[in-house]
């Protein structure tokens, strides 16, 4: 079942806050499990305008930083369109070359149980290893990861897409 979670998050402040809380809850579980709660701060990226208004645009819906390691995570949640499993991720540098430089993992996705699980796996790798091992066997029973590296940009292909033949089109 590929149902989006909180699909009206851009239309309802309550739904938005619930979606944001879900991401934070999942992140908190990860850092707690890795014994790194004390190293990380959430709400790294400013999400309010100058007059104090919460923008609630999902861009980002969640962010976190480890100041000691100059490592960050930023999640951009997208409004559901045709594909409820729309999910992309990449590594980037915020403030590259500056004193404020942060090596960040950026996730951009529609929110569903499946994408939440993919995001969880990637965040755990990022927090633990500061890199993503993209060809390891998946711990997620529903998915296998196949990577199409493109200058540092990787796409996570879910198992159902492979069955539908999308994989060949993406690799070509």
């Amino acid at each position: 079942m590929n149902r989006s979670l909180h699909p009206d998050f851009l239309k309802s402040a309550q739904e938005y806050d619930r979606a944001a809380a879900l991401w934070k809850q999942r992140f908190d579980e990860i850092v707690r499990g890795l014994g790194q709660s004390w190293l990380w701060q959430t709400d790294w990226i400013e999400t309010r305008s100058g007059n104090g208004t919460e923008l609630r645009d999902g861009n980002p819906i969640f962010s976190a930083i480890c100041p000691e390691r100059r490592l960050g995570i930023r999640i951009v949640q997208l409004e559901p369109e045709a594909d409820p499993l729309e999910f992309d991720f990449w590594m980037d540098f915020f403030a590259q070359g500056e004193a404020e430089e942060v090596k960040e993992l950026v996730l951009s996705c529609v929110l569903s149980l499946e994408t939440l699980n993919i995001a969880t796996d990637l965040m755990r790798q990022w927090i633990n290893d500061e890199e993503l091992e993209l060809e390891r066997p998946s711990r997620l029973p529903l998915f296998t990861e196949v990577t199409v590296p493109q200058q540092g940009y990787y796409t996570y292909i879910p198992l159902h897409a492979r069955r539908r033949g999308r994989l060949d089109a993406l690799v070509a």
Binding site: I45, G50, T53, N59, D88, F94, E98, Q150
Partner: protein, 120 residues
């Protein structure tokens, strides 16, 4: 030390907008003592567009429109303070995006109120 400069001597307001994805990596940075205004930020979008090839520009038409819309919205809502990191993507096209980074200081702050003229 000039007003608005940080203690380390760096300009107080720094950031950049970037077009990334595929083979594209082009940017328009700023580092200045006064926060860039709404019109200055929109001009930077124009400068970024001028750097793009026609295919790059076609690919980023929607992300650039979304960035401009965000700048106007931010200006109407009192501006924005660092750290800001926003990604505007072309959905359905992997990696094609335009990013806004405000590293230090602010953008699009309201103009300060003009002092009243003393009555004669």
């Amino acid at each position: 030390m000039s007003p608005g400069s940080s203690k380390a001597g760096k300009p107080k307001h720094r950031g950049r907008i970037q077009a990334q994805g595929g083979d594209t990596e082009k940017s328009v940075p700023w580092a200045q003592d006064a926060p860039p205004t709404e019109s200055e930020m929109l001009e930077k979008c124009d400068l970024l567009e001028e750097q793009l090839t026609p295919p790059e520009l076609r690919d980023r038409e929607q992300p650039l429109a979304d960035l401009r819309r965000h700048i106007r919205h931010l200006a109407a809502a009192g501006g924005g303070w660092a750290p800001i990191a926003k990604t505007f993507r072309k959905r359905g096209a992997r990696a094609i995006r335009v990013d806004l980074e405000v590293i230090a200081g602010a953008i699009c702050l309201p103009d300060p109120p003009q002092p009243e003229e003393p009555s004669p």
